[in-house]
Amino acid sequence: MIWTCIRIPRPHQQPPEGITAGPVSEDDLLHWEALIQGPEGTPFEGGVFPAELRFPKDYPLAPPTMKFLGEVWHPNVYPSGLVCISILHAPGDDPNHYEHASERWSPIQSVEKILISVMSMLAEPNDESPANVEAAKMWRDRRAEYEDKVRDGVRRMLGL
């Protein structure tokens, strides 16, 4: 379910260091590609993760979708790479009022804010309603194994 995703802590007010984002081609501005650096002090540290952002035709009324290209082992990232965070959900998507309206998508949010939120999601997973159940289990019960797997993924991503 779309709305059973995680609540994100307020993004830290910092310049988006370690983020590169822009349209894949200048002819299609609704398809972006972003690179996100793994946050420091986490097993994702040192990694660079490519992701694609797809904006709907009625952006900014509707939120974009974000998908990691390649393998990201994380409780809140679907095995397909789709990112599940509250900022990417329109307020109408949540009939259970599980997520606060302020955490969800609104036209005043920006791409920068999304990417920062995703970065902080990498640092602080939320296993309340995981997108990747296996990863969430591993994160909760076997933290060392989880971190090793993430580090392996980071190195593989860099071709090492």
Partner: protein, 225 residues
Amino acid sequence: MASTTEEINVPSLVVILVISGLIIRYFFFSPTAPPPSPQQQQRDALAALRSREAAVQRIQQMFPQAERRTILWDLQRNGGNIAMTTERILAGRMDVPPILFQPPPPPADNNATGGQSTAGAGAQAAAKKDDKLAQPDLITRYNLKDKIAAEAVSEVAVEAEAEAATARSGNGRAPKAWSTNKEERQSLLQRRRDEMILEARRKMEAKIAAEKAAKAEAAGGSGSS
């Protein structure tokens, strides 16, 4: 006298003939004027089908348990309104479609990707599928092999390149400024991306080397003691 009336009559007769000819042509042969109309209709129908398919996929992403036929039936009855169908599924008020309602089978290429992508042409979906299967690392993804090789050849070259880059940026072309040129903007972005990946790789390489050295040292230390 008679000849003058005849002379006046001939051109007016011609005019009348031409006008009536045009009128007849307009009334009876107008369907021939827009011959591509059936094609247009077909295209419209195809577009409608595609958008309906996208709507079904969107709803099925939200409600994997909902049946395709039921969704299609509901969409058809409310004119393709996704929000209304969503609400009805949530409220559990979906009607069972009549047996006579047999929707067209889902397109094949969408099945291949497991209905993951809501938007995207077949080619795009196929490309994505390959992407997923191959799981390429960043180096192959952005064609950075050459750059890595060049880097390995000599560190000096890298430094020279960096110097050249700073010199270039110092030449009045500030890298941060918003360029009005499409290609320039794109290449700037690409350069930033490449630099980010290469730097991360360099750091990771150094880290791995340091780890190896530490391990070797520890092994050597335990061996000697």
